[in-house]
Symmetry: C2
Subunit: 203 residues, 2 copies
DNA sequence: GCTATTTTGTACCAGTCGTTATATAACGTC
DNA sequence: GACGTTATATAACGACTGGTACAAAATAGC
């Protein structure tokens, strides 16, 4: 009945994400967006609502495609300890190759807009919990099969890994050098090895 | 000879910092700034240059007054391990009390503008190195007096602490809850205790 | 082919952006 | 008190901001 869309919604969303990701919310203008998305302003407003709504869509899009899929993939394809190590390895590789210094859209958004937008804050908080949960699950699984020190508190270790991950993403936007980022990850990952774990953190 | 300034430069700088700190660079307008600083636009331009130059001034101001002074104070007033623990304690206390969720101006800037401004990037990178150096120095000192596990690699431990710190500041902008933030810090700090340190991370 | 419904392109809105020209005012020095 | 110099206040600049009114165009069902 109605006139059909002439643009690819998914491609437009990716283009918008690219803009917000590299410039941030405030520094991205509607002209930037319509230019990159190859869509006129009225079409944008018709399809996505205003700038804030579009931003939320791109963020949700990123969380689903970028982070969630990665966690699922690692969880399914690798044994527990390797899943954790590979996760950090991929993040660091991306950060080093990232010549634009775009960093992580999730972390960028956590700092720029989470404090001012409750809806985005909920999305972001949920994703942090997912990541922490991934770490915790992998630690428990690794302890079960003996590849991870059984004396670690899985919850503590998951939080430590989450903190390390966020630290890497912050540092990567300033100094995206592989040796520095690995220097951050290595001591945290070293704790996983069963041979090293003669300690037990108190609760 | 010339007409004297009518405004307090330090107070104006603090007001500008408050603006940039809570809203970020892009989302802060010159009207916001002139309003908060109680200075007219021409005076602002005359005294500080353009918006970017003013931002750099406020950032440098913050790094000197906010972070550097704290490190010096902790280093002088407390024994090594307590200095590290107190550092995290203060950060977490501030984060929890921070109802505006302003977070840390250094970390906010590292994400918003470090990728796009080389001058700020240098300031920020240097400060990260200072913090890491503080941690490393305290670990070494603590090992010397027996309050910190002698088997830790001081460089590794410093990096781990830096990562944890940055992670806390990221998470605090989304979920500034004391228990969560302490959950991030605790496992990292637990590694310091000599009784726990039966492990040695490889280099 | 007409109608109902949605999308698109053009053209534009009022408001705000960062910045500045101009004129006046306040000072130390002569 | 005039001079050189710098700070202030007013007012405005052109460019750009997020967002829209309007009409033309494209479809499916009748």
């Amino acid at each position: 009945m109605p006139r059909p869309r002439e643009f690819d919604e998914d491609a437009a969303l990716n283009a918008a994400m690219e803009c917000f990701w590299s410039r941030g919310f405030a520094a991205t203008s509607l002209r930037d967006l319509t230019g990159a998305m190859k869509v006129t302003a009225p079409s944008l407003y018709n399809a996505f609502g205003d700038k804030e709504a579009l931003f939320r869509r791109t963020l949700a899009h990123y969380l689903e495609r970028g982070t969630r899929d990665r966690l699922r993939r690692l969880e399914q394809e690798l044994p527990p300890r390797q899943a954790i190590e590979q996760f950090f390895k991929e993040i660091i590789e991306h950060s080093v190759k990232d010549r634009q210094r775009k960093g992580c859209f999730l972390v960028n958004s956590a700092l720029e807009i989470a404090p001012h937008d409750e809806e985005c804050r909920a999305l972001i908080a949920e994703q942090f919990e997912n990541i922490e949960g991934f770490f915790r699950g992998r630690v428990v699984a690794g302890q079960g099969e003996g590849s991870i020190s059984p004396e670690l508190d899985a919850g503590d270790m998951a939080r430590l890994l989450l903190g390390t991950l966020l630290g890497i993403r912050v540092l990567a936007r300033t100094k995206p050098r592989g040796d520095l980022l690995e220097g951050l990850a290595r001591p945290a990952l070293a704790l996983l090895h069963p041979l090293h774990g003669k300690k037990k953190s108190k609760r």
